[in-house]
Subunit: 459 residues, 2 copies
Amino acid sequence: MDTQTYIARRKALRSTVKGGAILLLGQQETSRNYLANPYPFRQDSHFLYYVGTDLPDLAALILPDGEEILFGAPEDPDDLVWHGPHPVLGDHAGAAGMAQHRDFSGLAEQLVSLAASSVDIHYLPPYRPDRTVRLAELLGRSLDEVTASPSAELVRAIVAQRSIKSDAEVAQIEDALAVSYDMYQAAYAVVGPGRRESEVAGAMQGVALAKDRAQSFLPIVSVRGEVLHNNTYGNVMQAGDLLLVDSGTESPHYYASDITRTLPVSGTFEPRQRGVYQAVLDSQLAAIAAAKPGVTNKALHLIAARTMASGLKEMGIMKGDVDAAVAAGAHALFYVHGLGHMMGVDVHDMEDLGDAVGYPEGEPRSEQFGLAFLRLAKPLEAGFVITVEPGIYFVPALIERWKAESTHADFINYEEAAKFIGFGGVRIEDDILITPTGARILGKPIPKTIQEVETALGH
Amino acid sequence: MDTQTYIARRKALRSTVKGGAILLLGQQETSRNYLANPYPFRQDSHFLYYVGTDLPDLAALILPDGEEILFGAPEDPDDLVWHGPHPVLGDHAGAAGMAQHRDFSGLAEQLVSLAASSVDIHYLPPYRPDRTVRLAELLGRSLDEVTASPSAELVRAIVAQRSIKSDAEVAQIEDALAVSYDMYQAAYAVVGPGRRESEVAGAMQGVALAKDRAQSFLPIVSVRGEVLHNNTYGNVMQAGDLLLVDSGTESPHYYASDITRTLPVSGTFEPRQRGVYQAVLDSQLAAIAAAKPGVTNKALHLIAARTMASGLKEMGIMKGDVDAAVAAGAHALFYVHGLGHMMGVDVHDMEDLGDAVGYPEGEPRSEQFGLAFLRLAKPLEAGFVITVEPGIYFVPALIERWKAESTHADFINYEEAAKFIGFGGVRIEDDILITPTGARILGKPIPKTIQEVETALGH
């Protein structure tokens, strides 16, 4: 992104937020097991979007009159010794198109003085304890006060702005997707009976790291695809297993990719795996085909759900009227999560800003199991980039619980469902751009149909 | 480690710390760019050492009478749905040999009630803001109060205990070193002109990740070896460059390895590279040869310094009396850091506990440049595992500064030193165990002599 992009983004933000000062807090280093042993640094995403500088311990302040100041550590002569030649704070301010830069140690005083002049300080909800502590220090408030008073107006303005991706942003996401493509190519060579999940994870991450790319989230690489929260890689793959791989990486400007594929460990799908896989694929394609501006993502979610329920009915796992089953939420025994989420500088874009990202004001989330987990429900707009990632899972604990309570027994054939305990799960995920007339799957196609996947695995 | 090991470790700790309750706080998840996007979880090292459980949001409380309680989240029925079958809190307490387990939400009340009964609560200095915040919540104190009052007695007891490694701990470190060996083997295949530093980093990390091993710290993989604080991997290697690789991984029980090698990008060292490399290697071998119980690590540091100064004198870069030069600190223009550090569950073992780890009580760090950065100065004991990692660097900013100030001009030939600007740096690091009579280099030998390195690189 060039300097003009950051200037324009901040100008648009400043013009939307009426009055007050806007404080954008950069990220601090995060220690692992002691202070000087940090995790790989990741800048705060809002800071990346509006300033772009990828360094710890910065803050940007935008005053009511539009004056902009980048706060950071002043240069220490020893920095040159330990860090070699590098751009200094003024250079970073210049690259971001900010006229002024100042010593971070003066920020608290400036904020307190603004507050004393009855200028509101707009800041975002802190999503890490170190951010809460830093805001408390800067604003001279308690931790509880900081947590209680983020700016809803700033949240709304940023959600509106960051939701619509420019061509340059889409290009960044496609850049990350090109690396994802290579990561899957590396995976195909390692998937096979007798090998550990971690070998696939290592091969994929090695590809990204060789290109100096971070993961956009902790990947899932598991033969236990039905375990939704699963970031362990210790299982040994067996013939007959399905390996679910959900991973993503970041572009040079830290935009995310997020791709899921489900691969048969033996190289070919078994008959009932084909059935479940095809039902998920049909759902994903149906949702993508229906995606366009004005359609809600909730509607897409339900299209996917109905397609899936039809497939499950054909397999004898569900029964009765498909529309009624989906309206009741019966499909959610198998399709336990939402269709997808917004994507951008965050893989769940702006998730730190809460449901303002995915839900229209005044529309709370559904309380129905399954639908309650849908992160994005509102009408789609041209420029949104979202994931489409339906899945079918056979979760033993859930099947047993619903069966014991006869939940939706009109729509579920529990005898048949029980036979799928141990099957695992299937999810298929792509990243799509909402265009003025429909949607476009981003990135070079990664093998997805049954035949494509089997061919990729050498069969 | 088996249950008896953890029981014995806690019993020893309890018997050393007289009176009071001992609170060991586990690690919390660490968010990256929003709450639900964490970094890979790493348990607190003290918690690993005394309890072993590798889960977030735990705490262990050891009461004055030896009663032990593991605090954590009680099981939620939904955990089975989202996380699959897994051990519950009682299982973890059992594995750690702790008789009791309780809901974490009751810990604060118990601590406040202990404090009301005038029972001291011993806790360690918090090294992350989230730990400070959690301790403040648990103890009902302010952040400043928490920071001000960690237990010096607990720190001393833990330093004494964790400094001496058992055979099982040494085996863990050697297990990590076996992976380091494989990582270097992978590196040799990727080092070469025209390739990016990140390709080497990715190849090495891919090996570790395939074995499900985390890095013990952010690796250095750089043709700018003279930049000491350097975790970027963007340079393209050129023939004639030296690539400095400092990396480590973790064993199944999270013990660290830490190995540095310096590799000629072309596959063979140039004549002056051979000179500098051999001076560093001679220093490392001299320090290792002198290592045994009773000798201070500061003495080893100075042995390495004198060996290096001799080598630099032979090359015409230093001059005058070697002992006098080292006593004055002139060598530190090139050998800018300390010889090494304690190793264990942390790569800089117990660095969160401060200089109590490396310095005898009442002996402050030297203020001399170079020696001031020595992390471990005290007498070695059998059972210590330490790194030995001397290096020679040509840091342009430092050479120019000292030259301008004529610093140690009696001992440094600045005209000759200036010719090495652009040379980079050489460091060679192994991990050694102090035995009753000397020292043993741990792990399968990783190519280190000039000939071994060139052979490994295919020459």
